[in-house]
């Protein structure tokens, strides 16, 4: 568990440094992600510890969103005043995005090997 966490934190730190001093347009964690991915691809295996930590994170990712999302209370008056625009944009956009993505996959994969 610990060695996996250390690996992740090291890549996060590296990413933050690079983002700060070299490529300011890309957020640090994204650079860290690319770095860790490159490392895994070079090594061609995932340590058990890293796998455990990554699984824990992806299972409870939702929890990590809570503090930022509670920020909705700050914007409540503004959002209430423009509720219609916000709700329509959010709902329609997510419906369209899922439909478009799924339909592109279905169309392009239809001829592929995966026809069951």
């Amino acid at each position: 568990m610990i060695s996996g966490l250390v690996q992740i934190l090291l890549f996060q730190g590296l990413g933050e440094l690079l983002s700060k001093f070299a490529v300011p347009l890309v957020p640090g964690p994204v650079i860290g992600l690319i770095g860790l991915l490159g490392y895994l691809l070079a090594k061609r295996s995932i340590g058990a510890s890293l796998e455990l930590v990554a699984a824990a994170f992806s299972q409870h990712l939702g929890l990590l969103f809570v503090p930022a999302a509670v920020g909705v209370v700050v914007f409540l008056p503004q959002l209430r005043a423009q509720a219609l625009a916000v709700v329509v944009a959010l709902v329609v956009s997510v419906l369209l995005t899922m439909a478009v993505t799924a339909l592109i996959l279905k169309a392009l994969a239809g001829s592929g090997k995966d026809a069951r």
């Binding site: 890309v26 409870h60 939702g62 999302a69 509670v70 909705v72 956009s93 993505t101």
Partner: protein, 242 residues
């Protein structure tokens, strides 16, 4: 009253001054959300994140705790978002085998979905007369929250608003995904998973994992790829739009 026991107000002052209260609140609310989600038979309408946010928002309003004060404590949870982002390398790496066989459809779907997400929300919000400040929150909303907030900072829009829209999008995607895929007739788990990952990032991915492991794996692949692509392309996209 026992003289040895501090009055309740003093305990309260002590607790609300430390990060502990915000942490207890956040984790308990999420626990309640998870329990409700399980009890409901994993009904997408009982989204644990939505329930947790609702509980925390009501609680801090009830005890008159300003949001920045709450965030001061809850930032320890929030900080882990960056770490969780880095750990996305693992599902992407695992998905790489799948990617090599399905490279073209997956990348085409990712690009199509990403562009649809930004273009449709920004267009609709503008059409319906939203403030530019609000519209700004839409650019990165389909990207996983930690990356979305980073992107928002770089394109000069509010990270908090972006996070709120990102999380709302995630919840809406998790709730509505099943119906959309049934309506458009997409049945393969990997396709459904990938689509929900592109549109609804982390929350959609948790949802996908709880429905089917293959859907979850593809959802996290989609979320990771969209995060990387979004971080690189959204700033370019924004400069075209404005």
């Amino acid at each position: 009253m026992h003289a040895s026991l501090p009055p309740i107000a003093e305990i309260w002052v002590y607790l609300s001054g430390s990060p502990l209260l915000a942490l207890i609140l956040t984790l308990t609310a999420y626990q309640v959300g998870m329990l409700t989600y399980e009890k409901s038979g994993r009904n997408p309408l009982a989204n644990p994140v939505a329930i947790a946010v609702l509980i925390v928002a009501m609680a801090i309003t009830a005890i008159d705790m300003p949001y920045p004060k709450y965030f001061e404590g809850a930032q320890f949870v929030h900080f882990l978002l960056g770490t969780a982002t880095v750990s996305l390398a693992v599902p992407i790496y695992k998905g790489f085998n799948a990617l090599s066989g399905r490279m073209l459809p997956l990348l085409a779907a990712l690009l199509g979905g990403g562009v649809t997400s930004v273009a449709s929300s920004v267009f609709l919000a503008r059409l319906l007369g939203a403030d530019p400040a609000i519209v700004g929150g839409f650019y990165a909303k389909s990207v996983t929250a930690p990356i979305a907030m980073g992107v928002a900072e770089r394109i000069g829009t509010s990270p908090t608003l972006t996070a709120v829209f990102a999380v709302s999008t995630g919840i809406l995607g998790a709730v509505l995904g099943r119906f959309v895929f049934d309506i458009v007739g997409v049945r393969e788990w990997w396709q459904r998973g990938f689509a929900i990952g592109v549109a609804a990032h982390g929350i959609g991915t948790s949802r996908a994992f709880s429905v089917h492991p293959e859907a979850g794996a593809y959802a996290s692949l989609a979320m990771g790829l969209h995060g990387v692509l979004g971080a690189l392309l959204i700033p370019v996209f924004v400069s075209w739009f404005s």
